[in-house]
Point group: C2
Chain length 448, copies 2
Amino acid sequence: MTTAFDGPPLGIDTRSAVLDQYTVDETGRAGQRPCGVAYPANVDEVAAMVRWARATRTPLISRGAGTSLEGHLLAQGNELIIDLSQANSILDISPTDFTATVQPGVTRTQLNAATAESGLQFTVDPGADASLGGMAATNASGTTTVRYGGMRANVLALQVVQADGTVVRLGRAVRKSSSGYDLKDLIIGSAGTLGIITELTVRLHPIPEWLRSLRVSFPTVTAAVDAALEMLGAALPVSRLELVDAPGMIALNTFRGADYAETPALFIDIESSSEPAATAEEQEIQRIVRAHDAIDIAAARTHTERHALWADRHNLFFALKSRHPGSRFLVTDTAVPYSQLAAAVDTATRLGDELGLAISVAGHVGDGNVHTIIPFSDLNYAVVQQFSDRLVRHALAVGGTATGEHGIGLTKKKYLREEHGAAVDLMIAIKRTLDPLGLFNPGKVLDP
Amino acid sequence: MTTAFDGPPLGIDTRSAVLDQYTVDETGRAGQRPCGVAYPANVDEVAAMVRWARATRTPLISRGAGTSLEGHLLAQGNELIIDLSQANSILDISPTDFTATVQPGVTRTQLNAATAESGLQFTVDPGADASLGGMAATNASGTTTVRYGGMRANVLALQVVQADGTVVRLGRAVRKSSSGYDLKDLIIGSAGTLGIITELTVRLHPIPEWLRSLRVSFPTVTAAVDAALEMLGAALPVSRLELVDAPGMIALNTFRGADYAETPALFIDIESSSEPAATAEEQEIQRIVRAHDAIDIAAARTHTERHALWADRHNLFFALKSRHPGSRFLVTDTAVPYSQLAAAVDTATRLGDELGLAISVAGHVGDGNVHTIIPFSDLNYAVVQQFSDRLVRHALAVGGTATGEHGIGLTKKKYLREEHGAAVDLMIAIKRTLDPLGLFNPGKVLDP
């Protein structure tokens, strides 16, 4: 089917300065230098590049905004980068269907700017202004997942270029279907190892009218977690439920010149459908947090107040950076069952003390997802690795996962069999079936 | 690895009267007579039977409560039935984790009876008292899907016996993970063609404290659908949003001796987190339905009132049966984008008129899922088939799916390629990879 090509169907950028940029990722981690970069603008150009890559046995790494934290985008040998950031058109917004269809390079803030006038939003918010293709490839989620789910819940359909260069559509732009095998969710989270996403149809949700936010300080992590779980048990319409531990609050005090209690805090959003509902729900949350020994409660009711309250949570990483100037940072990403959540945070804190690391914890409590943020330098990188390793193994031992939302990439591959056992052989069989030549993001997620 | 067996590891029931029962399904549709029935009680017995089936090349049909509507369970040749209804132990309920772990034969009412004392519920409600294994196999959903999602959203992890008789665990019992390929969702909806589910860990949700129900009559289907979509756009906490068309309401009037407006009606549940919230949300719904020319509004606030209101919706099928004594019934299951929903109902009504069929429509409006209920006899079965066929093709033409929640089974196989195009070849490749001998529910979903 494929024939020999004189050259690639698209121009390939091989300038040193450009290749250098693609050799190091957002975390500062370095890979091999890729052999070049191509910038396809649409599905036909991607498909042509894949057919050429197949004919020439060129391995490919597809990428969007480049915000991966787990080495997904680093070349291992002589890969060609397929940079989809220029395939960034919003193809359709259908307010009546609550859907949008986009090219993979569209970022979430770009999409949200376009849907706002319809009163709708794309809810998956991983923090970074990631591309939707990249977010699907890593099965991203984030702060709003407790209410709206992650990418699998919010992507209805995909267009994908397969390893043989053919194009398939997976899923349908309907709210539910029981037709055929769920290939859409197989591609989501596969990190470009099974196909290249060239189009997504996603769900949009109404922008809520009545929002309340709270910041509540607690004496202990356990008290904060217990309060959070009681809110979930009371079916309160919580849309963000974030934990910042004491070291994080101390860093925020310094960074913002604030005077918050230097103890673990929850940052909470509730989304209500009327003002009386918002008031009743906020009161119920206040009752719950007081019953769990809340030290300090700040409630934000106006847009300005809410923005100021959440600015702290969003500034946490910058506050830690400013506290540890010159450091690089590693962010862990385990998720555990709710019953293990307080113990997981305590384990991280104890491990940090034991290893002499200045860690802080920021957790998506509503999802059982714990991020530990660890400043490090070349001098103590081995210790930081040991910390991460022991934290992952603790999560796996209590029924958790090595990665709640960042993906396996390159860095978590070693835990795949510990987490999934013999199911890894099934993953390998599927990789071989979908990508028999192994040209899609080789060495990522698993080794076939 | 496998060796010759003297005989099967479990007793096989081959009595004629028993096999006759398994030859006809709940819809009255008949298949071939299976060669026997085995009743494994646990994963080891299932695995042993699969190894024996592999050694003897015996095709297998696994089943739970037997409530499939699309021929999933009918033998095509000489299959052996693996009846899992006796593998029905609840293995664990963890209220703190909001999870339960069950064997596949556990039914949803059995599970809900066990979780109620913890104030928790399993929310997927397809109507029938289906087994959880069967519900996973067909990716079932139902009336509460608009709020809680279907099986994929509510199953966290599976234990599965593969075609070679080995056992794997897919997914983890955590609220989110980005680790490895999503094999859990590949098995969900695969109708026993890729593996046999022997254990499920599912999500539980708090039983809501504040419920309100409404029955609202509208002059037209379009008015009812527009009102429903406005409720979704206002982010009201709707947990059921059901349409019954005029013929359905007429049948209910006769069956119940009631005097409802004989026009299309919505049956609505809202779940609130406080009484003020419930009152505000009910008022907002009343405002919306009045703006869409509501003819009659009945609000139910107590448990007794709510039960009476929903009894009508649940009795709809019996009302239609009583109106058409001696008839069999076919139920269609298309789902379409919201913007096509009113047109899909109108298309069904016009088609019914054109073909002289006494249809009625009951739709899960919140999911775009339209069930047409059609009484028929042997005399007009060909016409009913024509109706169903034209309705499916209409749904596919407007971007919908042949099956929102019942599955492809045997009866919808002919639409698979029309719906999924070249993705069917990928499904076939996966079937061949996971079940190379083709012994798992052969001829269902697709032909490899």
